[in-house]
Symmetry: D2
Subunit: 345 residues, 4 copies
């Protein structure tokens, strides 16, 4: 199978390259970059010296459609919506790592992204690619809206509690923390080393575009309308997301029993590692890998559940889950090309 990667100078693209390098069934046919077309990939990313020796291409829909079976969009929001329809028409599957096809409602998209939305026809075709939960839908689809990094960590941490009716849906609070690579490679004061290092910062208070994405999926899964409180923080590290999730328990339950239900829920899903009682995952424990690790604590004193969910934002939160979805679409083992261990320390 041949693949194109669009957005080749971003961190998600370079992570797709790293992971696909070991995928037995996929070959990268072309890497597209608007801003650096014509340059060699290993000039833009010297760590690829002698490994990836091909120039970055312009985005030519016809040419690419003739050569590849699938296109990964690792582009800023607002880009893929203009190209995906053309590729789908030409029979090329699309996995979009941007937010363009995640929200069903174009109004919500425009409200949170401050950009015009994709056509509803295509929004309706898109399947939300949370691999562990929507594998049946993913299998049948040609257009995957790959989930955001925060929503991946959050939803994987919450859905077992919701489907087992453990918590009050109306009072969910998510305190989310991310490394800096989530902001991409483009330069801003917010990513300047001297501003980020030895610093912890809350940002986009009440305004993060992942809020409607999480709420949309929680509504689908819970069957109720709900609003979450969701706060994002920038942590002085390159990779890693942690969502610390709080919700009132509907009834008293022991931590051990919650863990049992979570383990059952994810029984057939090798990338989800539900930790034992008293163990809470750290972001470094999934570094460079496609794992999502979950720790749980049901507090008798307060009657609240605390969930700690960690992922590598560039792998399970982006490129890794995209490849996992490609595996599902093609009926391959879900772990194909994704068996690399976390790198520690």
């Amino acid at each position: 199978m041949k693949a194109a990667i669009v957005g080749g100078t971003g961190y998600s693209a370079v992570e797709l390259i790293r992971l696909l390098h070991h995928h037995p069934y996929v070959e990268i046919e072309t890497i597209v970059s608007h801003s650096t077309a014509g340059q060699e990939m290993d000039t833009v990313y010297p760590h690829l010296t002698q490994i990836i020796q091909q120039p970055l291409d312009q985005l030519d829909v016809d040419q690419i459609s003739n050569k590849v079976d699938v296109v990964f969009f690792a582009t800023p929001s607002g880009v893929s919506k203009g190209y995906v329809p053309h590729f789908l028409e030409r029979g090329v599957a699309c996995i979009d790592l941007s937010g363009d096809f995640r929200l069903e409602s174009p109004i919500e998209y425009e409200q949170w992204y401050k950009k015009s939305a994709a056509e509803e026809k295509y929004l309706n075709q898109a399947v939300y690619g949370l691999s562990e939960v929507y594998q049946n839908e993913i299998k049948e689809s040609k257009l995957i809206a790959n989930p955001g990094c925060y929503p991946t960590a959050t939803l994987l941490g919450l859905l077992p509690a919701i489907q087992n009716h453990l918590i009050d849906y109306q009072s969910i609070i998510i305190d989310a923390k991310s490394g800096v690579s989530g902001a991409g490679r483009s330069q801003s004061l917010a990513t300047h080393y001297a501003e980020v290092n030895e610093n912890l910062k809350a940002y986009k208070m009440g305004a993060h575009q992942h809020i409607p994405e999480i709420e949309q999926m929680l509504k689908v899964e819970s069957g109720s309308d709900l609003q979450i409180t969701f706060t994002t923080h920038l942590v002085p590290m390159t990779r890693g997301i942690m969502a610390t999730i709080y919700a009132p328990l509907k009834a008293q339950i022991k931590t051990a029993d919650v863990i049992h239900l979570y383990k059952e829920f994810y029984e057939k899903h090798p990338f989800i590692r539900v930790r034992n009682e008293g163990e809470f995952p750290a972001t470094k424990e999934v570094y460079g890998s496609n794992y999502c690790d979950i720790g749980l604590y049901a507090d008798d004193r307060t009657g609240r559940l605390t969930v700690v969910s960690v992922i590598d934002n560039l792998v399970k939160g982006a490129a890794g889950q995209a490849i996992q979805n490609l595996n599902i679409m093609n009926g391959w083992d879900v772990q194909t090309g994704l068996t690399n261990l976390p790198i520690y320390p």
Copy 2:
């Protein structure tokens, strides 16, 4: 005025030394260290070369009592409770940076600290040294229980909302994050660079000894019984604490109005900087200084208040507040010796 510092090889002690160096009315007479007595201070901390040239002393109550007016205890929990009575008897004021005199209930102390508590007689004498709130009591006391780092950030962030009856006391959730210096200078796997760097970790879930301290003071201020959910995270940075605090609003209120109430509450308190609407403080913005910066957000969508409160854990969370309390005890301007600016970047 002459001062003794007990616990001279810890980070709080060395921060006391840095800050007192510029205090116009205080001279450090002796620095005591059990583990390194006899060594020169600048051997233990080479950054003090040619600045502090005195050997570390043994703890001799009589000798020290004859020489000093105040003793700062920057010791691990369980140490000061054995010495404070002797110093008080000899008329020497004590400012205890450890947790030994913070909890009024010896039973609670023993439950959370897993150590035997101080005598009730002395627990009753101790004043909780949250400088902005208890200045009247501090002024009259000879024994100050200097607040913990997390409680300082949390209480300063919560009290204006509580005293203005803005929030539901029963549903307070505090997601707290700290740099590594909070763990002290003693060595453990948890403070090893390669384990902490590029890592984010939740720890002491439901078991942190600052939980009863915060609850005790919230009960006093709110007049209600309550339980908080309080989670601590270790962030890859040396200094800084952030408490992100969530609570349901009792009634609809605009962010601007909440900010107005907070600014009013802290009007006469130069170390508290309540930020304007849309601004949220970062830990680096108080680095090395005694400031506590507070950002506020009242969310219409969810009906919840989010408070972001940051301090430097070694300054406002330890040595700085201790000196602030000394200033209050002596009727000096509260900023004496504490006017240094945050160091940025």
Copy 3:
């Protein structure tokens, strides 16, 4: 005395503000910024909230000349050379933290800086402000070329060996390392957190503009023509410079004797701390302070001297030394306003 700071949004300017805040004889009258004129200083740097409450000004030579006695230029290279003559004509002293007046030869300036040089008339007036070495000249001057950060660490580490004829001038090798704040606040891929963190990089090989500056001063002090090998590295930290300097010893000498000569050389200079045998300074030991710490090792096996010299690039390597020079120019104690201790940890 009243001062103006030009270049108010850069890191050197903000460090001047931090240090001058405690200077008993200097008041900051105006802070000038071309790019952010009209904005409040605490909007550009929120850590100054409630401390510095003044808008950033445009650069109006006449207006400023009427109000201030000294102007600090904390500007990129190529800016101050256009303004300094006007201020000098109006009797205002200038301390230039940029490289515009450091090189005596305009040809060399143009070759290394790739910009046109300042007028020779003013180059001739400028005194190279290495405080410990040129205090007599500084005292008599109205135009100080404040040394670069790398040259400060290097020259202070080398001059005692040169003046005592210990080393072969023709074979000096300097392996220099800097934190990221040396690159300033402007944004580039080279300062992006995700590119710098967990990374070490050599840069500007053989092309750093501090090479001619160091060579010029070494020639003056040694009386010989010489070329140095000087390599710069970017270290994942915000502040700090280390120069590790290597040179062949002319004759066998013990480390203890070298240390003795260095201590003698810097006997009257409180900011230079020559370390004892077997001790080598770390950058954090001078963090936030005006110290330059020097460690020495004369190797019997190889006949070479190794010098380790560390400074905080923003203090002794920029703003601190600038204030030290102001103190010298005015006959004040050299430590005035610069007594703050290193912040550790």
Copy 4:
């Protein structure tokens, strides 16, 4: 082929586990740890949860010899020398990642390591496992002394210059920098996060045990007696080594010509990436991979050569090169199990 790993709680061991997990011909039969025998591997290293589920074993020579073909020693110095003879006698190949078999001279070992040396009989059998240079000897040996991390980076950076007679052997200066994982997982003040972060430190001046190792191999390759100046620095990062190497050129030569000679030298060695003129490698560009990247600069002004050589200290500087050597010993492709890309950012 079955392998044992001795020293299972150290960072080199856990890196062997990560890399061997993908090796098609090797299975880890047992992981031995003296200090944590009996515990589960994923308790000691939670990132291995659900991946490595086996308890750590005691070191039983007979039992292990019956089960495995090769033993990797990832132990502190002084351990392997006591076990290697027993394994060799039982026909089990040994790859020693410690320094016990690297120095031919027991006297030198005892002088630099301050421990008693291995028996000369075994020292003589050992082959120095610098894979690119001694592949013929490695192929024939059952005992590999895997090179130290610093010597690997240094020798790979120097040998082409030496074998092409480009430089003066008597004046080689190596300024080496390492991340903290090189110090291992054991706890000390030197690895405490708050002491290392935002800090750069020179250490073991003139006393590093890798000095005699580098000198021994340079003597062999150059045919001359020589002493190097070698200084080590601790950099605030987890992984990565950079050796910046300086030496006088014997004759004038252009950088391009030096690069040509280096590329020729390493033509058949896929793990060595000699960079083009003007490009210098950063440590992050080899992170997690077995590459050694080399940048070169021949300076006309000074007549000196500067070599920048970077590796990941845990891969090419330890576990990766050990597996590379195993591949050579078995006649497998040298890249077997080592094709993972650098992880970036």
